[in-house]
């Protein structure tokens, strides 16, 4: 479904991605792990051309989308929960959710919003509160909810568990699994919480200094010595 070939990306003079190859098959959950600043978020954003790939190719659903303008990407069925949530602070919760439906079928709206409210009941309670005044975790839920409103084929999650209470973290991974199995949604996931991530993921990549250094199934990576040493274990 998604295929990245030798993608490079820059922020001014910072070379953030150095030739990344990533493939995501239909119906898969793929996770990216890597240290701080490895370029995980950059990789996700580069799908949308922000920053754009300075060389390499990105193919989605058989189409080259490397140079497609940002706003046309999501219309092809990709949605993102970006790093830092990026909710619209001066809009209400409901309006934020509506923003997620800009190109969705209006007929689905009621079902979709019910689903989101069912996942995160607090959002329903706060539907007319300004999103900027939500608590950190509530904002995270809103960002996830907003991404789900467009029924994407491919869902990009950049640290979805950030700032969520443990009980919700469990919920999130459950939801991810559910979306994947029941709705066939393909998911690309970035997580610091590598345990959780690798456990739900079919496959994973390890990113280091803008390069893929390791790839394998979730279980393989979980078992890998290097991964354990670098990302899973915290020496006391």
């Amino acid at each position: 479904m998604l295929h990245m070939e030798g993608v490079h990306a820059h922020y001014g003079h910072i070379h953030a991605l150095r030739g990344v190859d990533v493939t995501v098959q239909v119906g898969e959950i793929v996770t990216l792990i890597g240290a701080n600043g490895a370029g995980k978020s950059t990789l996700m954003m580069s799908l949308f051309g922000k920053p754009g790939a300075s060389s390499g190719r990105i193919v989605f659903d058989g189409e080259d989308i490397t140079r497609v303008p940002s706003h046309l990407i999501s219309r092809r069925g990709i949605a993102i929960v970006p790093e830092g949530r990026r909710i619209f602070p001066r809009m209400t919760v409901l309006e934020n959710l509506l923003m997620g439906t800009a190109f969705a079928d209006p007929a689905n709206f009621n079902a979709d919003i019910k689903r989101v409210y069912a996942m995160f009941p607090i959002l329903e309670e706060r539907a007319s509160q300004r999103a900027g005044t939500l608590s950190g975790g509530e904002q995270q839920m809103l960002a996830i909810g907003r991404a789900l409103m467009s029924r994407p084929k491919l869902l990009l999650l950049d640290e979805p568990s950030l700032g969520l209470a443990p009980i919700y973290i469990k919920r999130i991974f459950q939801i991810v699994r559910e979306l994947n199995t029941e709705h066939g949604m393909t998911v690309l996931l970035v997580e610091q919480n590598a345990h959780h991530a690798l456990r739900v993921a079919h496959r994973g990549y390890v990113l280091q200094h803008g390069e893929i250094v390791l790839a394998g199934t979730g279980q393989e990576l979980l078992a890998s010595e290097e991964v354990r040493a670098a990302y899973l274990e915290g020496g006391h």
């Binding site: 820059h10 922020y11 754009g52």
Partner: protein, 433 residues
């Protein structure tokens, strides 16, 4: 957000043609009501006149212009893309230093080279006034990040303080200079106080309003300011008491008689030039040092994140007021000099346009950059001057240039920010000591 320019595929001639045709179409739309049609006054009533020839020429010119422009841009871009991107970041500080010294050298040498060209020296003096104003406003806008659209008010306060101190008490330039600076600073605080809580555009409009209030008061309070008639015969600064006059008063000496020179109007012009150069350099050193002091860093921190400043225990009120006060003081100094140079001031010199120009200098210079202000002041003062040859097209070209320069360099002419302190240098210095 900076992103590298993606090497686009080269445009085909057909694409260029289409692009130029689109521009020509827009030109046609814009041109019909303004170029193609005009109303003229005939016998007390308007009639419409058509100028289709002119419209055609305008549209044609847009087409050709766009075609060629696009072509050149593409060529330049391709060439740039072909070259590997070199990390310029490290070179910039040195380049800035070199340019800085070169500009300083040039400004010292200028009156010597153009010793009999009063226009050049006088224009250079104007540039320096704007440089000084730019540096003053830079404190408020560039460093502290407070948008001030009424900076001209402080300039006016400085100028009028001197003019009034002279006309009522006979104070000289040098005596009035500090008092006027202090007065302007006081006005800065006066303005700063009520608007501490405001942000962005709210701040902008209030400062703009403040500038207008000062101007309207100057216009109307005739008893104080002599209203629209302005205040004239303001004395020129003297060189240690030596005036620059053709006929000094009985029993005194003038610059020319003291040095046994023949009187020349140029002496004063050159003196004024060097005077403002010295004032400007002092301002520069002053602001540059402030930037490396706690206040300076506090200003920048304030610009970046006011809430974080509070969380660090910083008294945001004081930081803001100090920025306003110091910015205003520098504006006041410039005002005193302006009054002394012109010899005549009236409210017309302190309009919003002036504030806008100074702000443009700061932004165009690259917010916070000292040398940037110099370059921007040069550009913005010289452009309309050079435009004098185009008489009525002058301001049209000026406006166009302003847009183009901003588009060409959105971050300003010199956008890089030099840290106020570095760990490495500091460590080395500390090691040596």
């Amino acid at each position: 957000m900076s992103a590298v320019i993606i090497a686009r595929h080269a445009r085909t001639p057909a694409e260029r043609f289409k692009d130029a045709a689109w521009v020509a179409f827009i030109a046609l739309l814009l041109g019909i009501p303004m170029v193609g049609l005009t109303t003229v006054d005939e016998g007390g009533a308007l009639t419409v006149q058509t100028r289709f020839g002119m419209l055609g020429a305008f549209v044609g010119a847009s087409f050709v212009g766009r075609f060629i422009f696009r072509w050149i841009i593409d060529m330049v871009r391709n060439r740039r893309a072909a070259k590997p991107a070199v990390a310029k970041a490290d070179r910039t500080p040195q380049a800035v230093k070199v340019i800085g010294w070169a500009v300083l050298g040039a400004s010292i040498a200028l009156p010597i080279v153009f010793s009999d060209n009063r226009y050049v020296i006088d224009t250079a003096t104007t540039v320096l006034i704007y440089v000084m104003l730019g540096w003053g406003l830079n404190v408020v806008v560039g460093l502290a990040g407070l948008l001030d659209l009424g900076y001209v008010a402080f300039y006016a306060v400085g100028a009028y303080t001197y003019a009034l101190l002279f006309s009522h008490f006979g104070w000289t330039f040098w005596e009035a200079l500090l008092v006027a600076g202090a007065m302007a600073a006081a006005f800065g605080i006066l303005l700063g106080y009520p608007i501490l809580r405001l942000r962005g555009d709210y701040l902008a409009i209030v400062t703009l309003g403040f500038g207008e209030i000062i101007r309207v008061i100057l216009v109307n309070w005739t008893e104080l300011s002599n209203g629209p008639n302005g205040i004239g015969s303001i004395p020129r600064p003297t060189l240690f008491g030596l005036p620059f006059e053709r006929n000094p008063a009985e029993g005194t000496q003038s610059f020319a008689t003291f040095f046994g020179l023949e009187f020349s109007g140029m002496h004063r012009i050159v003196f004024l030039y060097y005077l403002i150069l010295v004032l400007a350099l002092l301002t520069n050193v002053f602001v540059a040092r402030l930037r490396k002091l706690p206040v300076g860093r506090a200003w920048e921190a304030l610009r970046e994140d006011e809430i974080a400043c509070k969380a660090m225990g910083m008294n945001v009120t004081n930081v803001k007021l100090s920025a306003f006060a110091i910015g205003a003081m520098l504006g006041g100094f410039a005002g005193v000099f302006f009054a002394a140079r012109q010899g005549f001031i009236s409210p017309e010199s302190f309009t919003f346009t002036e504030s806008a120009t100074i702000l443009a200098i700061v932004v165009l210079g690259g917010m916070g950059s000292q040398l940037g202000v110099v370059l921007a002041a040069l550009v913005l003062v010289l452009l309309p001057e050079l435009g004098r040859n185009f008489s009525e097209y002058r301001m049209l070209l000026f406006g166009t240039a302003m847009v183009l320069i901003m588009v060409w360099k959105p971050g300003g002419l010199l956008a890089s920010r030099e840290p106020t302190i570095r760990l490495k240098q500091a460590a080395i210095k500390g090691g040596e000591a």
